[in-house]
Amino acid sequence: MKLTRRILMGAAAGSFLLSTGAAMAQTELTFWSWRQEDKAFYQDTIKKFQEKNPGITVKFETYAPENYATILSTALAAGRGPDVIQVRAYGNLETVATPGYLLALDQQNVPELANFPEAALAAETLRSDGKVYAVPFAMQAQLVVYNKKIFKDNGVNPPKTWDEMMALAQALKAKNITPFANGTATAWQNETIVGGLLSSMLGKEFEADIVSGKANFTDPRFVNALAKLKDISQYFSPNFTGVDYPSSQQLFVAGRAAMFAGGSYEVANFKNQNPTLDLGVFPAPILKAGDQALIATYYDGGYAVNAKSEKKDAALKFVRFLATPEYGTAFTNTLKNLSPIKGIKIEDAITQDVAKLAENSMSYLMLVRFRYQEPGGSVLLQSNVQKMLAGQQTAEQAAADINKGIATYYKPFQK
């Protein structure tokens, strides 16, 4: 008994000495993320930061994306959690920011916020107090990724209009090539497909009208776009209602399908799995000449500082570092994901294309504007489009259902 106590005391004293010894020389920050696959990049970033800031070390820890929110929530609720936190955007940010777990950022404590476009900061802003809570890290876009080799072999070019797109898909199918790798079995894929294929037909004006309440989701622009989607779904992968996300990716990676309507983030992923793929991107086709060709953009998330951290100054230094064009350039070129920071230099050709397309874009509507309350716009869009594409309801019914759900809480629709 005595012996155990002595050992325990010794161990406690030892660890106390060790920890104070370290604290005097170094401030150690913990940094949580769900991006296990980007670990090497973040370690590298941390090394660069530490060279510039001797006295601060950063420990990078990752958790699986599906559990990240739960683990982070639990830690923050218990008054613990990391000093620097990778957080998501929009509705998911509110879950963490509303209870006051995050430090509000402004031009005073993070002057580098000036490096970001308005829309990027809006993604990390809490609607209730209008304050920014995180430094945005990536812009994503929904568009069409295509296999250049298949296009070239068949003598076709990226289509501009919807009619060209239909003709192209038919021509490819006639040659036994699956035009689109997409499938609809994984619910959220239905939302990315809508963003990738229909944005130009919906248009910026439609978005403005939805925001102001001048139009709702029973608007002909929305209904007609959905009807067109139903029409083109005949060119999705065979048995597409049963094809889930990984299967559709594999179909495209194997070079057995010509196009993939989805996220700009797919490009890096596709290339990792099959480096020989020669890929390109193009925006959603327009309905008629003279319309604007658009992609649907949103911001992924940001880097935030824990409001309860005892090392806020060091944490702010690190977050400021993550807001510099130097970091943005490294992020974009290493991870092939577009950093929203102004003045970055992009090496990768496709990322350059995405950046160029992003200059003319609309919001990825449901995520950006309707993921704050239940039933969320994304849930409604995903399940109703899935149902429509399975032939179980018409475009009108899908639009009416989506509208009905959102109208239960969205004031502009209740007039």
Partner: protein, 310 residues
């Protein structure tokens, strides 16, 4: 003073009992009782993200059972749990009973079959779900491939993407996974029946059906009690197979949604679509818990009454 062995033994004995009993009690209270009670408490509060807001009484419960947004989802899922319960009762427990009877008769190679039937039970549910997802893949899955090979092209379907077959596919995958368990329990129950009873019945000229119906089935009643009760609990807590095979949304368009998925989505949020609401999630969990406790107890009491001592 030296203690006699008679005196030390009770103390030693008590210590030994305490050593065995205390850790599980602490463990149970910490990881079972406490979470259940706290979930119960959470259900009475409004939640702002992860921070507990004000006390709202029964509002969360009302929302879950009657609210315009939640209730249709919950009742839709509940109905699917009921379907699963009925179907699994017939396929899984019924199939288990038949398999047990076949094994009981010790056909050629029964030792091998006894193991083979039980092997899927040992596999991880995640693996089984993934495996069946591959089997059911519409384009390269073994099931559609087999149908094409047999020339039955018209029967090939996107099983998990078709609203008329998706739930059935999940139920069959679950039955494949667990049928070995009722088979083994029933087999043990059958082997407990004194052989002379069955012999006597045979001498009296019963046929197979009468033997099963009038002798075996009543005498394996204790096995039935435990299997029906466990299946009832399992069917209403159903989560892993649907989660792995169709995802959190009960894809396609909610036709495979079950209460376990609804609970997870509500409490923890769905990364790609919705937000967290601990209060409503806790309310749903509490309702589900009470429902299972009450009905499982009633079911057990009723099933116990039909057990025969021999």
């Amino acid at each position: 003073m030296q203690a006699s062995p008679q005196q030390t033994r009770p103390l030693k004995h008590h210590l030994w009992v305490a050593f065995l009993v205390v850790p599980p009690i602490v463990f149970m209270s910490l990881f079972v009782v406490y979470p259940i009670l706290s979930a119960f408490a959470y259900a009475f509060y409004d939640w702002k993200g992860l921070a507990r807001g004000e006390f709202v009484g029964l509002r969360n419960f009302r929302e879950v059972l009657f609210g315009a947004t939640m209730a249709p989802v919950v009742w839709n899922a509940f109905l699917h749990n009921v379907y699963a319960l009925i179907a699994l009762m017939i396929i899984q427990n019924g199939g288990g009973f038949i398999l047990a009877w076949l094994l009981y008769k010790e056909p050629f190679g029964f030792r091998f079959h006894r193991v083979a039937v039980f092997v899927p039970v040992v596999l991880s549910t995640i693996i089984v779900g993934f495996l069946w997802k591959l089997f059911l893949n519409p384009n390269f899955g073994i099931i559609n491939q087999a149908l094409y090979a047999l020339g039955l092209d018209s029967l090939a379907k996107p099983w998990l993407g078709d609203s008329s077959t998706a739930l059935g596919a999940l139920i069959l995958a679950n039955a494949w996974h667990f049928v070995g368990f009722p088979a083994l329990v029933y087999l043990a129950g059958m082997q407990r029946i004194p052989p002379e009873i069955i012999e006597a019945a045979r001498l009296d000229g019963t046929n197979e059906w009468q033997l099963l119906k009038n002798i075996v089935w009543p005498l394996v009643a204790p096995s039935t009690t435990i299997l029906f009760t466990l299946l009832f609990i399992g069917a209403f807590n159903w989560f892993e197979i649907p989660y792995v095979m169709v995802g959190l949304d009960g894809s396609p368009f909610g036709t495979t949604d079950v209460l376990g998925l609804v609970f997870y989505r509500t409490a923890f949020g769905n990364q790609s679509a919705s937000i967290q609401n601990f209060g409503m999630g806790s309310a749903l969990a509490t309702i589900l818990f009470l429902f299972i406790v009450v009905f499982a107890s009633m079911l057990t009491l009723w099933l116990r009454r039909r057990e025969i001592q021999f």
